[in-house]
């Protein structure tokens, strides 16, 4: 009974489980499926085969190597029904001669998987019958068909990704040769990643019909993500290209006095989409700057999410201004700030070195200050004026451009990224300087001479 069942089961498993190469490697789910199919077939034939029960069972029993099969069967059963163990126990009891062979079954601990007792009963009887070898073979084959189909699906969905990635890599190289704009390397790489995904989508849709719905869902999800991200310019271009079926490799737009744009491979080349692409790239560049400015924006890639963060940040800054103005109003009953100017120099002595500006004498840049707070001072010093040679070594610790001509300072802030990061760094440093709580601890320097004129503010911060 069991013994007969097991080679059959294994055979069935092996026919359907060709993928794994070994019946035991099949997943529990697949084994369950197999058994389910089997039961259904066996139920129809059980009556006919019951009669043969007694005869051939012992012939099967005499076949060697039962224990190993039993263990394999064991594994099968563990994954399957809960009631099966009882049934097996019952079956074993019904044939006491077999008890020796299956001692383990009595000790089986069955995980409950919600199998009907009836089902298990049918199943057991199906297993127990012996003469239906060929029947079982056929049923096993038929039962294995859906399984095989499922297996095929699983495998085939894995394959197109590999194919597509290979295709993507090829087009990768081709695109690298095509594209001209070098400063946008980062953007290109990101767009290439998206392209690979797009290729994968195409590959999948070509192969299996059964997966059509799944594919459509995946494409929709990817396109939605594409539209929300700012760096998926290519993907949008791709979808438009698919509809328009334009395969121009490189097309140069010749517009006098206009920005020359090259369309990437497989993209639409009409002026509208090109202009749109340029616009989108500009916006994504700006968003990158904003990402550096707004803290905590590094992980967010979607445009909407980024805008949300920016809004929150601007709101919080505005609220801070309100709050601080209230605080100042509360602290200053008379709104007089003359006294501050005078005393602030004592409180902010370190700042003196930072502001070598109008009328500032060189005594201010006291080297002792530099020692105390080298980096921040150096940074701010370097920002303002020429470079003090002593500061250069210190400044190198910051990732900021070393020499900053004044013209650069005045230039439009639509500069390359380093400027914005540099500003951010300086802001941080500047802020950090004060948060150190050195206001109290720093000894007051009496080196401040000169008139303290309200209009000619030498307020150093």
């Amino acid at each position: 009974m069991m013994n007969m069942a097991s080679p059959e089961m294994l055979h069935c498993l092996s026919t359907s489980g060709n993928v794994a190469g070994n019946g035991t490697d099949m997943t529990v789910l697949e084994r369950q499926r197999v058994r389910m199919k089997w039961q259904q077939e066996q139920f129809q034939q059980q009556q006919q085969q019951q009669s043969y029960f007694g005869g051939s069972e012992f012939s099967m029993f005499s076949m060697g190597g039962q224990v190993g099969q039993a263990q394999q069967f064991h594994g099968l059963i563990n994954g399957d029904s809960a009631a099966l163990g009882d049934l097996l126990g019952r079956a074993v009891k019904a044939d006491p001669g077999l008890e020796n062979v299956w001692p383990e079954f009595g000790k089986l601990t069955m995980p409950g998987t919600g199998f009907n007792v009836e089902n298990a009963g049918f199943e057991c009887s199906g297993i127990l019958n012996c003469s239906g070898f060929e029947m079982n073979h056929t049923t096993s084959r038929t039962s294995s068909c859906p399984l095989a189909a499922a297996e095929a699906k699983v495998r085939e969905s894995v394959l197109p990704e590999k194919i597509a990635s290979a295709v993507g890599r090829e087009s990768f190289k081709k695109r690298k040769a095509d594209t001209v704009q070098s400063p946008k390397v980062v953007a290109e790489e990101e767009t290439k990643d998206k392209r690979i995904k797009g290729c994968a989508e195409d590959g999948e849709s070509k192969i299996t019909v059964a997966n059509n719905n799944n594919n459509k869902n995946s494409t929709t999800t990817t396109t939605t993500t594409a539209t929300t991200t700012t760096t998926t310019n290519n993907n949008n271009g791709e979808t438009s290209a698919d509809t328009s079926k334009e395969n121009s490799k490189v097309s140069e737009v010749q517009k006098p006095d206009y920005i020359h744009v090259r369309a990437r491979r497989g993209q639409a080349t009409d002026s509208h989409s090109l202009a749109e692409r340029v616009r989108r790239e500009k916006i994504s560049e700006r968003m990158k700057y904003l990402q550096d400015l707004v803290p905590g924006c590094n992980k967010i890639t979607g445009k909407a999410g980024m805008l949300d963060e920016i809004i929150n940040y601007v709101q919080s800054l505005q609220r801070q201004v309100e709050f601080l103005s209230m605080k100042l109003a509360a602290v200053n009953p008379r709104l007089d700030f003359n006294v501050d100017n005078f005393l602030a120099k004592e409180v902010f002595p370190a700042c003196a070195a930072n502001f070598p500006t109008i009328g500032m004498s060189s005594e201010m840049t006291n080297p002792s200050y530099l020692h105390y707070n080298p980096i921040q001072q150096v940074a701010t010093c370097g920002v303002e004026m020429g470079i003090n040679p002593a500061d250069i070594g210190l400044r190198r610790s910051i990732s900021a451009p070393v020499s900053i001509p004044d013209t650069f300072l005045d230039s439009c802030f639509t500069q390359i990224q380093p400027s914005s990061t540099w500003d951010a760094d300086l802001q941080n440093l500047y802020g950090a300087e004060f948060h150190q709580g050195r206001l109290m601890s720093f000894p007051s320097q009496a080196a401040f001479t000169g008139p303290i004129d309200a209009s000619n503010l030498k307020m150093e911060m």
Binding site: T223, L293, L317, Y430
Partner: protein
Amino acid sequence: MRPPTSLKKEFLKKWIMGLQLCSSSKKEMSFLERKKAIKLSADVAMASARNATTRWSRALISNASKDDSNKGLVECILGPESESLKRASMSLVLCNKRNRSKKISRKSCSIRRARKSSSQMVMASSIAKRLVKKRTQVLKSLVPGGGSMSEFSLIEETLDYILSLRAQVDVMRHLANVTELLNRK
């Protein structure tokens, strides 16, 4: 981009100027009045530190100078360039009106167009677009003078505005700390 330290210095200078003007003009001011004066002078000083190179600064100045009571303060803070700045901000206001009327007519047209598309893919992307649009609108309301900017210029203005706000907050915070310390002494 202008370095933050010079920005802060300029801002502080102008702000203190404005504050002194306020304090000299009125002897007794209520808490709220004081707070308003502080904030106003801070904002105007911030905007003038940009010398009307950015739209938000111009819009801020124009908004501030709309109120007659603030005009004097604004003029003082702005200093010699006030006249040209005012003219620039006035033109900005006119531009806003023109753009607004354009947008209203555009909106009415686009609503008719939007009903056509109904497939699943377009739905998802349209949802995303709507989200982004909503947020840009909110951002426009936050940044002064943002109502008449294109998306791209809005982002640029926000960049600058954030930097200025940060500088403003820093300076104000330090001043507040200093006055607190002084008061304790």
